[in-house]
């Protein structure tokens, strides 16, 4: 089977999976079917009791399904002994679960050691992983208790990646660290994922985290009922039902802004003139756009600054006017949420989109609203 075929085949496939715990009246997961494409990061979100962690643990058989089948990398998960299946699946949990009595080096090297790698190869891999997750190589000789929560969580990710498993399962990995560290770890995961392209199943109760990290989001309801499975933009634009809409929260529109980029909206030219333009040209440009200010670019298209129309009084040319620096600039890839923030905090009530030093166009609140249509 070629790599090409792999990308078209789900790395993980759940079919009609049911889990009823002994003594429980209701199933924790009932009839869940879900495909996770290879190389995708899929977030499982939902309120407590929705079976998201149970679902995750069924993938590596920490919990055995009552009914249904789960295929991992194209084969029934029961084809292998549980411990062999698990060695192909990295696992990261909220409490990290590092071995307190082993140094970071031995913690990271745990699975390679199980797989019988030689010492030299394990040491090399540890050094590589420590760098990959952004830790100082000095930590390798320390014990987990000597590390901060954020560092421990990075070690947890390094350990999960140690034997280069194709699949990573992450169970609320960032909910125990403070918000600043959490944001950084999320950003690092995105950077890491761009490099390693693992198939990741990520459990979280934080819808913002899911929307930020996931290629696709599975919204689960109590009892493991799949309410919607879609990419973040679609989820926000077209929630399947009341439950999903409510789970996404009142600020659904604002959350969508985080997923649309400046380049995705129709930009306007704006009241922009060249440095050599006359005062009359500048007035005309401002009037045309109904604004009381105008921007100035040079012949190469670089944004020089802006001035009030009133500053043109007594000036013959735009070149005579003192300009104020244009701080309200964004790039084509800036999310609309940030663009909006720039707009409402800038005096011109607009954000200039600058691509590689060149002025591209202007975004106002109207364009932002238009971008969500």
């Amino acid at each position: 089977m070629s790599d090409h075929d792999n990308t078209h085949r789900p790395a993980i496939s759940l079919r009609e999976v049911v889990k009823t715990f002994p003594g429980a009246a209701q199933p924790a997961v009932s009839g869940l079917s879900l495909d996770v494409a290879a190389g995708h990061l899929v977030a499982l979100v939902g309120p407590s009791g929705c079976g998201k962690t149970t679902t995750l643990k069924m993938i590596n058989r920490l919990i055995e399904p009552t009914e249904g089948t789960i295929e991992v990398l194209g084969a029934d998960q029961r084809a292998l002994a549980a411990h062999e299946l698990r060695r192909q699946i990295g696992y990261v949990i909220q409490q990290v679960g590092l071995f307190p009595h082993h140094t970071i080096r031995r913690n990271i090297g745990a699975v390679p050691e199980l797989l019988g790698w030689d010492k030299h190869r394990i040491a090399e891999r540890c050094a590589e992983l420590v760098e990959l997750v952004g830790l100082d190589p000095d930590v390798l000789g320390r014990y987990p208790s000597e590390l901060s929560g954020g560092q421990q969580q990075r070690v947890g990710v390094a350990r999960a990646l140690a034997a280069d498993p194709p699949i990573l399962l992450m169970d609320e990995p960032y909910s125990a660290v403070d918000p600043i560290v959490r944001t950084r770890l999320q950003d690092e995961l995105l950077t890491l994922q761009a490099r390693v392209r693992k198939t990741i199943v990520f459990v979280t109760h934080d819808i913002d985290e899911a929307l930020k990290l996931a290629d696709r989001v599975a919204v689960l309801n109590v009892g493991g009922v799949l309410e919607q499975y879609a990419d973040p933009a679609e989820l926000l634009a077209v929630p399947a039902n009341e439950f999903v809409a409510e789970f996404l929260g009142r600020e659904r529109g604002l959350r969508r802004l985080a997923l649309v980029r400046a380049a995705d909206v129709a930009l306007v030219d704006g009241p922009i003139v060249e440095r050599s333009a006359t005062a009359a040209d500048a007035r005309a440009a401002a009037a045309h756009h109904g604004s009381d200010w105008f921007g100035v670019i040079d012949t190469a298209g670089a944004l020089l600054g802006w001035a009030d129309v009133a500053a043109l009084d007594g000036a013959a040319s735009v070149a005579d006017v003192d300009l104020e620096a244009f701080v309200a600039t964004v790039t084509p890839t800036t999310p609309l949420r940030e663009v909006l923030d720039v707009i409402i905090t800038s005096r011109p009530r607009a954000a200039a989109v600058v691509d590689d030093g060149r002025y591209v166009g202007l975004v106002t609140v109207e364009q932002v609203a238009g971008g969500l249509q």
């Binding site: 062999e84 698990r86 071995f99 307190p100 320390r142 208790s145 901060s148």
Partner: protein
Amino acid sequence: MTLIAADRDSFVWWGWIADRPDEIWQRTVEHVQMTLVAVAVGLAISSVLALLAVRYRWTYTPITWVGSVLYTIPSLALFAVLIPITGLGFLTAQIALVSYTILVLVRSIVTGIDGVPPDAREAADAMGYSAGRRLLRVELPLAVPAIVTGIRIASVTVVGLVTVTALIGNGGYGAFIDDGLNRRFSTPIVLGATLSVALASLIDVALYALERALTPWRRRAVRSG
């Protein structure tokens, strides 16, 4: 009466002690042997029982119940029961000594394994550790502090009890005490008791040092940042 004196009417007759270096050494060897055998056998039996209790939780209550009964039987009563069966001597003494270690050791091993952080256990399972490997590489090493604490208590208890087994002819420091009681002579009683306390303290300190050597991860300070 003075404590330091040179004749046999005083509380401690130093000259009598100074004349017997060989006998003191021999009694020390006997006492240490009795203690080591009892603790080692006790640890072996307790390990099996503790692992049984960890694996099949329902067995824990009956195991500790039996352990408690053994622990509460007075040693003299136990000798009375055992002597007709196993005779006067080493085996009878060891049965009594080992019995006293079971409760403490089983409890300390089970407590130690129960105290392993559940997330470390879950991580081991999720990484593909087999149950045996998880026990040897994760659970037992993390249970070391509790287990060593149990061994310390058991050892100190056994060192004290070995002096009683001299009554059924097993030597050790108890032989001095027995001799002193028979002859109404205080010097060997004081000698036996003092050496017994000293040995118990020495073993306790040595085991504490062993525990520290086995658990370097517990000593490093927690840093932040």
